[in-house]
Structure formats: structure tokens, C-alpha cells
Symmetry: C2
Subunit: 580 residues, 2 copies
């Protein structure tokens, strides 16, 4: 079923109905501040870490799906409210279009002669989401309405936020100044950061307490404050803090008006947190709010964003006879690769962003897709990745983006991991010609003093595979290879045990033909790096090991018709034509 | 504000409006199967462990609050649906009453001449919740309606269920046989338990997939299956599995009918899990469904429950001139104490039941309230608690009910903890005269081979306090005393650090006058135990230490007007008349 189309000229996916079976989301942001936004404006924002520094409360697996964390309401006197993003009110709209573009999302909707255009983007170099809202009266009558924009705050750590109620129902704190609501939970105690939501116009009223805003049995589809037109104008202490900003608007027929909202993250030096006792220093917020206080500034921000993406996407361009292939290669794949670089699958609608952090294997692979667009950042990423490698050449399977340390709960033993480090380093050098990366001092397991040139990390990666071969001479699979589900050494019987990590990380028998293939490819690349560096003896040794692996793969790795997939912990064959 | 009243004769709290500011909940169950149920039938069930074996999906901090995991709908042709428990439809009712009684909850509601009575309880000795639903046509016209009862399954581990979507959206499995829906996620792989929801009447249709049941943008207040009268009759694979049972009912004026639903937990021997490939063995479910297939059986179950509670509450009775005091002491406090014994605050609407398990201190204290009602179970609990004590006399602060092992993430160092073990043991002996408990071989930190008589555990508790005194001779507070928030040795500066466990568990300076008071009381009790056992020398030593503590408390523990609360890590006084 077709819910929209791709506009090649504008590089936008256009969704023509809010009734998509699953939310269709875009990812905004390219440096430190990221927003997820669906085709009904659901989603959340975070600063650098989706678990620890989340701005908006988002409920996964919610019913209905995709309600929150952004809420917009239009209410004319005597009429039922509606949302210019369809959710949360779900009132039928006379027109609806959502455009997911390169780093921005636009909604164009209309009801009863009132047209709305909402543009969302994370400006280059800023830690905020800008929301521009335009209204145009297309009817022949004066329109008088209350427009309310609201967000529900996450109390920063999203895991704690969704489990520790005896604490988090008591700690919410906000501050209101003019048309800006500041979320400052734990700021007094031990945070130097706050969130804010403000608008470039005088407000008619505000809400900072969700229960007051919603009323008894209230839900975001039908808040009391919207129904009655009465904001709480109340400073929340504890409970569920939110930021609701109410604006009274009058539009003559044909008239239009606009507002710019900024949803941002601000940070202060530890010793200069307060302006006066209890009053937070708002320099960051003030500067950003001031910067985006006009439509011209929004246009400039969007233009800068467009230029950023044009530059990135202009580096590599394919012109083929197939428009769809061109679009896929020139726009969509490269865009997705940059998103994956930013998020590394740690935050989405299915990865809740609450635990696993970034994958070692994932991050290496993703790099192949963006290295030509962001070579400096790719270099930095390679060093980060290599720094979670262990001294024996194995690696942590995951690491946390904020601390850059490996995850102990999953640990090591995914035996394809080490070779991916060769893959991404090779790709980086092939793209940039920057051989100096091989000299970069890089620690093992982030241990100060353990630094060795990156080349030494690659060496240990290759050696790890070379020295971990099974009975057929194929690489031992450990906990799994690229197919995460091929957990041949893991025998989980008890509920709650991990299928991936229960059992030895190093089984002595189970072998992976996939890793054999990797060794042929990346071992060969490593040998070429050796040759370039004049390490001819080492190159020859590796080449010999690679040649042997080719033979082994053609031997026990080939069943006469198929490449075998693996041998299990009992020596049994997996993925052969001889299998049932 | 008054939302109801207590009916002393029936021992029931009667709530007369669904519009209570917070859900008013009852706790059902007394052995292994527990249900939380609010005055709108919200809540969840679990078997033994609220985190690992949860039957119903419940969303904490939900909007609106208290939607799920039980859903009931009545739909007459041509009329809007309504819920006889008010939620989730929220249609205005002509009559509403909820009665929270001793181990059961009853709803009596009415709309448009159709009266409903819903009774919920967990039968003695069974691992299920029984739901009896009675309808009576009070109008003068025939009533034809579809009644639908539904639950949403939790995929057992509630933490995984609410975070690991890339997995749990793919694993849901159900089976349907007659009028029973079986939830069997992970049963094939590594569980020997399943959940079921069935009714003692033929069904008109069923739903096992939430998205099918609700429809696009659907919510539990307005499911597609209810609106259209069309069940999905679809076997879920993955997604969000649920159990919806639709019954077609026709009632003449004045006529009434009833249905009995059973929501249960079943378990099989590991080697006899399947009846045939893919078909689970249903012996437990069948027996229980058969047992509660008639109204007479429900009445018998309720009578047994009433007798159970009459017996428990009949053990101690107060007759004073104050009816409210009598009610409090004779009914409500004792009921609450038994609930606390069962749950030990690990599961409620505010403790999400996902992490902390049971508190050492809490469990010791709670025992004082129920020891006279359940002395055998109190004895067992004391041994469980003492088994998480460390060899040095300190203890884990929390432990898990299923494994009975201490929680490493919180660890030890709450220096009031050890003395509570004396408190509860003393209370047990005082109530029962069962001195033999002091001889019970009890391990330290659950270590096999480390068993020592319980008396030795009490000795180490007392010695721990005696040997951990600060500069004023008062007991060192460690991480905190009974006031969890008095974390005098904890200096948390980074977000995400625990206020309770960041810093040394043993500070050399900060002292607690509260623990001094505990030592006076429980040290004295311990000395009496020594005297009884003929350990006169030890008794004298302890009595001397207690006498000295009395003097110390009157010295540096008394500021001339107040008992001081504590001394902080810098020797500064806390809670004195000299404090600002």
C-alpha cells in the first residue's frame, strides 16, 4: 500500500495520510542534539545520549502508539479542538501532508478554513529543535482561536523516569519566565543542564503540571486546559512536569501569522549555575531564543541546513538511467547512513535507547556508508571503536556513546567483531589516503597507558581470528557472528537468561564460515596495509593464512552445492544441502 | 474530600465514584498469585515475582492513568459502548459502586437499565484470579448485547517487555481452544509456564492480537472490535498478544445471567510440557477452569476466602469505645500488614516491581504486624531475611523474592538494618514462644556451608553496632539509617549516581542517634535472649553496652532541649535546636 511518494527535486518523502500502519519517522540533528519525529509529530529529543539525557518523555509500546512527546492543539470557541499534526486529538482534517526532508519535517494541514504549516528542524551547531508554526485564515470569516503547544518532560534518565516513581513523582522542577518554561529537575542538586521550551510571542497562559493540564481521566487527546480554555498557570513541584504554552490568535480572512518555538538544551559551568538563589542562569537559552526569534532566522537556519546536506550529498553522485536507483544512492541511502552514524541504532522507535548503546560491529559497518561524507568524524569514530578492543584482540560487543566505554553486561565473544575494525579502517584510508591514522595512539579497553598505534589493534584483530580456529580450521564463532541469532555456543534454558551471552564466549568447536569469508577479505586488506608499511614478512604470513582459509572454505566450508553456514558446538553442520 | 466510606459489617471500603484523584487499589491473593486491582479494574497480576513472572501488561505513569491490564465492554446495537468498570470506555454510568473487601473487589454498576456486578478474587490455594460477571436486565425491554472481556499479556519479564522491542514484538505466541486463550510466549523455548484467560460459556469470537482488536489509532477506550462488533478470530504471532473473549447475551426484562472468567497461571513438568508438537499441556488450566465453572463454585471460593480472613483477623481483636480505632486495629491495619507481608512493597502502583525486590529493614518491620496471624510464615521469612546477612553482621539492604539472594547493586551499609533482625526475631518469640528458631541453621549471604544458628546472626547484628561507633560513641550511620534520605556519607555529584550508594558505605564520622535508640531497645531484647539461653556473661556485656549507649544518648545525643538526630560526616550536628 502506498502512503506517499518521494519528491526527488525537494529530496522529501511526502506522506499523505496520518493513518500509516506504523509511525513513519524522521531523524533530526547532526551533532549533539537529536530529535525523532513521526508523521504525527510523535517522538523524543535527547542531547548526546538517548538514555541519560533525554528531554521528552516518550512511551514505547503505547496505546495508541505514537502519542507524545509533542502536542499541538487549536481551539476555536464553540468548536471541538483539533491537532495540526493529527495526533493527539485525532480530529479528521480537511487537508494533511507530512514531508520528511533532509534534517527537517514539515506538516501542512487544514481544518475549517484554518491552514497550518509546522516546520521542525535541529539547526546546525545548536542544541535545540526549532518549531515554526504558520497559520493562515483561508475562510471568509474572522478566526479567533487558542493555539497550545506542549511537551512532557522526561526527568533526564529515561530508565529511572519510567520505573522509579516513589522518587520521580517528587523531584520535578520548573521555572517560568516570560514565554519560556525551563525544566530544571535535579539542577539544584547535581545537574548543570536544563531544558527549555519557549516561543517568540506573549503567551496567554501556561501549564507546567501534566495532571492539571489534563484533568481527571484526562488524556492528551482531550486535555481539560484545552477543553475549558483555562491554563493552570501553576508552577509544578513534583508530579509530571510539562511545558504548555497557550497563545491567543485572531486572524482576519486571508491573514496569516507565525510563531517560532524553541525546544532546547542548555548547560552552564558548574560554578556559575545560578543567577540568584533558585534561579538558573539562562544564557544559552536566551541566546538561542533570541537567535530564532524571527521567521527570517528560521529561513536562514533552514537554508544553512539545506546547504549542509547539499554539501554532504554532493560529494558522491550517481547518474544512471534508473531514476529510482539514483534517488536511492544519491539521497536516501546517504541520508540514512548519516543518521545511523549519529544514532548507531541506539535510539529509534524499536531500539528504546535505554540500554545497549552503540554496537562495535554496527559502528564499523555504518562507517563504510558515511566515510566519504564525514571523513574527520569517521576517523574519530574509528579511534573510539578501537579503544574498546581488548588487548587479546577481542572486543566489547557494545559501548556507550557518552562514556565511550564497553558494556560489561554483554562483554566480548562475538568473533566477527574484531575483523570489522580492519574493514572500516581500510575504507577510511581508501577514501582519504590518510595513512597517519594507523599511527594514532589508541588504548585497549580505554585503559590509560595501554595506548598502541591503531595498526597494532588491526594486527591483534587479524591474529585473534588466526589463533581462534576450530576443528575444521574455520574460525571459531564464539557467541555469534554477523547473524546475531546464530548463538551456537549459548544454551539458555532459564527464562530471563540471555540467548546471546549464556554459555561460554569461547566455545572450542562451533565454527563460522561467515567469519572465514571475512578473514579472506579483511585479512587480505590487512596484508596490503602491511605491504604499504613495508612489513613484507608479516604481509606474507597473513597472505598465507588467507590462502589457507580460502582452501579451508572450499573444503569443509563447501558441501558441493552450497557454502556451509557453520558447524555447531557438537560438530554438526548448519546450513548445508544435507540439512533437513 | 470523601470518595466513599468503610462498611464495618462487611469489612469493605466502598468507593462511590470512579473519579478518585488517584486509583484506589486493592491487593488480591495470599500465597503465590497476586493481583492489583483499582477502583476502575486497572492493575496487573503476577506469580510470585512482580518483575519476572508478570501476567498482565501494565503501563506505569500512563496517560490516562490506570488503563489496563483488564478491559470490559458492553455494546448494545445502535448504542455507544460502556465499561461496567467505568474505565476504559469512560462512559458515564447511571450507577457506580466499587467495594474493596478482604481479598476481593466488587463492582456494581448500571447503564440504560442493564445492571452489572463484577466480582474479582484470587481463590485460596489456586494460582488464578476469578472474575464473576452478573448482568441483570432492569429495563422493560429485551436487551441484546455483546459483552467483551479482555486482557493484554505481559511477555513475563516486565522490564524486557517494556524495553526490548526488537525482540518482544517478534515472540508473542498464543493458543486458542474453545473459550480459553492461552498465552505461551517462550514456552516452546525455555518456559514451563503459561497464562490463560477463559470463560464458562461459548464465545462468539475472540481476539489475540492487540492491533487487530484496537484498529488503526485505536485505544482501549474505543477498540475497533467493539465498535464494529467484529472480533479478529486471529491467532497472534508476535506483536502485542492479548486475550479478548466476546459473548453474545440476550436478556428478557428482569432476567439475569452470569459468567465466570478465570485468569490463571499454569505450570508443567519440564519433560511433559507438550500434548503434541506445538500444543501445550493444559492440565492445570483445565482443572481450575472446571473447578470455577459455576456460580456455586465462585460462592464457595468466596466463602473459603471469607473464612480465611475471619480466622486471620479473629486472632487479635480490640474492643474500645472508639469504633474507628477498632476498625483500624481489627481490620484495616491487619489486612494491610498481610498485604505488606506478601508484597513487601516490591509491587504497587508506585513501586513498579521491576527492580528493588524486598527490603531487609522493611521485611523485618512488616513482620511485627503479621507475626500473630501467620507465625509459621513469619518464621520462614525471618530465616530468609537472616540468610542475606553478611558474616560481619552487616546485611544486604534488599533481596529478590524469587531467588532470595541479596541485591549487589545496592549492597550493604545501611547501619540500622542489622538490629531490625533482632526486632523481628524477638517479636516472633514473644508471640509464639518458639525458642527453637534461635537454633535454626542459617547461612550468611546464602553461602552453602556457612550455616550458623540464628542466634549467631543476632549476635553479629548486635556486635556490628557495638563495634561501629563514631567519635561521640554513637553508632556510625553508614549509608543511611531508618530515614533513607539521611545519606550523610554519600556525596553524589554526577547525574545518575545514586544518592544512597555513592560514597563509602562505612564513613568514619557520621553518627545516628536513631540507631543509638535502636541499640538501647533491641540490644536490651538481645540481652534477654542471652539470659534465657543461660549466656549470662554475654548478657551482662551487652547490658553494659546498652547502659553506656543510654548515657551517650543523654550526652552528645541530647542538646538540652531535643534529642539530636545525627552528626554528619564533618562532625556537624543535624537536627538540633542549634540548627538554623
Amino acid at each position: 500500500m502506498q502512503y506517499g511518494y518521494f519528491d526527488d527535486r525537494k529530496k522529501e518523502y511526502v506522506i499523505e495520510t496520518p493513518a500509516t500502519p506504523l509511525p513513519w519517522i524522521n531523524y533530526l540533528g547532526s551533532q549533539e542534539f537529536f530529535s525523532l519525529i513521526s508523521n504525527t509529530a510523535g517522538g523524543y529529543c535527547f542531547y548526546r545520549d538517548a538514555k541519560l539525557q533525554r528531554l521528552l518523555r516518550y512511551r514505547y509500546n503505547n496505546v495508541p502508539a505514537d502519542i507524545g512527546g509533542r502536542f499541538f492543539y487549536v481551539k476555536e470557541a464553540g468548536k471541538a479542538p483539533w491537532s495540526p499534526t493529527f495526533h493527539p486529538v485525532d480530529a479528521e482534517l480537511d487537508a494533511y501532508r507530512c514531508r520528511h526532508g533532509m534534517g527537517y519535517t514539515v506538516f501542512e494541514t487544514e481544518k475549517d478554513g484554518l491552514a497550518a504549516k509546522l516546520t521542525f528542524f535541529v539547526p546546525i551547531g545548536e542544541t535545540c529543535e526549532v518549531q515554526q508554526i504558520l497559520f493562515r485564515n483561508r475562510s471568509d470569516q474572522e478566526k479567533i482561536f487558542r493555539f497550545t503547544a506542549a511537551v512532557e518532560w522526561c526527568l533526564w534518565n529515561t530508565v529511572d523516569d519510567s520505573t522509579n516513581f516513589q522518587r520521580n513523582l517528587n523531584i520535578g522542577e520548573v521555572e517560568v519566565e516570560g514565554s519560556v518554561i525551563y525544566h530544571k529537575t535535579e539542577y539544584r542538586e547535581r545537574r548543570d543542564h536544563y531544558a527549555y521550551y519557549g516561543v517568540n510571542a506573549p503567551i496567554a497562559g501556561f501549564d507546567t503540571d501534566r495532571d492539571t493540564f489534563l484533568g481527571t481521566f484526562g488524556h492528551f487527546g482531550n486535555p481539560q486546559a484545552i477543553r475549558t480554555g483555562k491554563t493552570g498557570d501553576f508552577i509544578a513541584h513534583g508530579g509530571a512536569p510539562m511545558a504548555g504554552l497557550g497563545l491567543d490568535v485572531t486572524l482576519e480572512p486571508g491573514e496569516e501569522t507565525s510563531f517560532v518555538f524553541v525546544l532546547g538544551y542548555g548547560q552552564n559551568p558548574r560554578d556559575r549555575k545560578f543567577l540568584s538563589p533558585g534561579v538558573i542562569r539562562k544564557d544559552t537559552a536566551n541566546r538561542v531564543l533570541e537567535k530564532f526569534s524571527t521567521d527570517a532566522a528560521v529561513e536562514a537556519g533552514l537554508a544553512e541546513l539545506a546547504e549542509y546536506w547539499n554539501d554532504l550529498l554532493g560529494i558522491y553522485t550517481l547518474e544512471s538511467s534508473d531514476a529510482k536507483l539514483d534517488r536511492m544512492v544519491n539521497i536516501w541511502h546517504q541520508y540514512q547512513c548519516m543518521v545511523t552514524f549519529n544514532m548507531s541504532r541506539s535510539a529509534s522507535y524499536f531500539e528504546s535507547g535505554t540500554g545497549r548503546g552503540m554496537g562495535f560491529r554496527d559502528s564499523c559497518q555504518d562507517l563504510l556508508g558515511f566515510v566519504h561524507m564525514a571523513p574527520e568524524r569517521a576517523r574519530e569514530r574509528i579511534i573510539d571503536i578501537a579503544s574498546v578492543q581488548w588487548a587479546d584482540g577481542s572486543t566489547y560487543h557494545q559501548y556507550q556513546p557518552l562514556t565511550k566505554r564497553g558494556n560489561n553486561d554483554v562483554g566480548s565473544g562475538f568473533n566477527d567483531d574484531p575483523l570489522w575494525l580492519v574493514a572500516c579502517t581500510w575504507a577510511y584510508i581508501a577514501e582519504t589516503g590518510d595513512w597517519s591514522i594507523l599511527d594514532h595512539p589508541t588504548p585497549f579497553d580505554n585503559g590509560p597507558g595501554s595506548e598502541a598505534p591503531l595498526m597494532e589493534h588491526l594486527r591483534r584483530s587479524v591474529n585473534y581470528t588466526k589463533t581462534h580456529l576450530g576443528p575444521h580450521g574455520l574460525p571459531l564463532i564464539g557467541r555469534a557472528d554477523w547473524n546475531d541469532c546464530l548463538n551456537l555456543n549459548c544454551f539458555s534454558e532459564e527464562p530471563g537468561e540471555s540467548f546471546q551471552t549464556t554459555g561460554p564466549s569461547e566455545g572450542p568447536v562451533a565454527e563460522s564460515v561467515f567469519i572465514a569469508g571475512m578473514f579472506v577479505l579483511y585479512g587480505g586488506q590487512y596484508a596490503k596495509l602491511c605491504r604499504h608499511l613495508g612489513l613484507n614478512e608479516e604481509a606474507a604470513e597473513v597472505e598465507e593464512a588467507v590462502a589457507k582459509m580460502v582452501e579451508t572454505t572450499k573444503g569443509p566450508g563447501w558441501d558441493g552445492q552450497w557454502f556451509v553456514r557453520a558447524y555447531d558446538a557438537f560438530g554438526g553442520i548448519v546450513g548445508s544441502n544435507s540439512c533437513d
